[in-house]
Symmetry: C2
Amino acid sequence: MEKIESLQNAKVREWTALHEKKERDRTGRFLIEGEHLIKEAASAGLVELVISDLEEIPFPGIRHVLAAPKVMKKLSANVSGAHLIAICRKPSYEAVSLHRLLLLDGIQDPGNLGTLIRTAVSFSFDGVWCSEDTCDFYNEKTIRSTQGALFHLPLIRTDLKELVPELHQQGVKVIATALDASIPFASLEASEKMAFVLGNEGQGVSAEIQKAADERIRIEMHGFESLNVAVAGGIVMYRFRAQ
Amino acid sequence: MEKIESLQNAKVREWTALHEKKERDRTGRFLIEGEHLIKEAASAGLVELVISDLEEIPFPGIRHVLAAPKVMKKLSANVSGAHLIAICRKPSYEAVSLHRLLLLDGIQDPGNLGTLIRTAVSFSFDGVWCSEDTCDFYNEKTIRSTQGALFHLPLIRTDLKELVPELHQQGVKVIATALDASIPFASLEASEKMAFVLGNEGQGVSAEIQKAADERIRIEMHGFESLNVAVAGGIVMYRFRAQ
C-alpha cells in the first residue's frame, strides 16, 4: 500500500490546497473528515480516496493511502488532527424537481449555511440554490454543520436574479422573507411549487430579489424581533415540508 | 480619567480571568464587547464599567476606564481586538411568569445556546432554565449568538429533575422533544402554561426528564431525520409563541 511520510510530498501539498475555495473550484474536489461524513459521501458515490494513518479503514472498495500522523495533522481542519480524511468530488445534478426549493441570498456564516442544508434535507426539499456571494458549500465548517446532509440534495450556485424569472416560467411561487410591506407567515397558503428565499445575516434578502418575489412574508414576533437565519429557515421549511 | 497602560496591572489580570467560567461564577461578573451588546446590557442596568482605548464613549453616565490598545487586545475575545469592552454583573431575577418556558438539558454548543435564547426572547417566552451541564450563559460566543437578547429574559441554572415536579405543582405542562414513543408535534394542543425541553446535541433529552414530562413530541421529518437543536427550538417556540 502506498505510504506518505513527508509533508513535502507533492500530493500532500495538492490536498492541503483544498482548504482554499479557489482550489476547490478549480479542481472540483473537496476534503471531508471522520467516519460519519465519509460514510455519507461514499453512499452518494463521491469519495475518490481515503487518507488515513490506520492500516485498516472501514470503507470497503475505496482507494486507501496510508499517511504518517504528521501528514494527517497537516491535512486536518481540526487542531487535534484526524484519522480518516477523504478526497471527494463535487456532485453533478440531474434535473431537479421544483416542488419545494430553498434559495439563499448572500448567507455569510458557514455554520448557518450547513444548518440550512441539513434542515432542507430533513424536510424533503428538492434543492438549494445559492447566490454567488453565499459562502462555499464545501468549506469544512459548512460540511460539518450539514452532518452529511449535503450529499443528499442538489446544491446549485447561480445568479438568483436570473433564476427567479425562470422559476416563474415553471410555475413556481417565489416567497421572500422580509420585514416591511410583508404578510404574516401564518397567512401564507400552500402552493404546489414553492421557493423560499432567505437572506444575508445582516441585510436580509436583497431589494431586487424581494421585488421579484411573488410574496414577502414576515415571521410573527412580539419580543426582540430578531431571529437567526437558520432558525427562520427551519420555521418556514417545517410548515411547508414535502409530505 | 484613569488610564491603564500595563498588561501587568492587577485589574487587567482580574478582568482577563473573566474569560474563565469559574471566575465568572465566583465573581458574578462577565465581559461583553462592542457597542450593540453594551447598549443592550446598559439598558438592562447591568454594566459596571466600560474599558476603551477611545477618549469618548457612547454610553453617558457609565464609568469609563481608558486603556492602551495592547490592554484592549489582551481583554478581547477577538483576534483583532476591540475598542469597547464592558464588565457586567449577572442579573438576578424576580418572580417569573410561567406561561411559556424553555428548558435546556445539556446543550454543549455556545452558539446553539445563544441562538435558543435569542429565539425565546423573540417569541416572548418568559424564561430559560438550563441543566447544570449546559454550557455557560456568559461565554463570549453564547453572548454574541444571543445578539443581546440574554439581557431581556430570566436565565436560570438549576437541576431539571427537581424543577419538573415544581412546574407540575404550578400547573405547567412539560413537553420533551424525543424520537421514540412520541406524538407528532402537529398534534400537540396549546395549554395555558407550557414548558418545552430540548436536549443535548448528540444524546437528546435525558431519559429521566423524558419520563417525567407530560408529553413527548417529535418534529415530523421525511428525509434525513436530523435537525439542529436551535432549529428544532425555533419550530416549537414559533408555534407556541406568546401572543
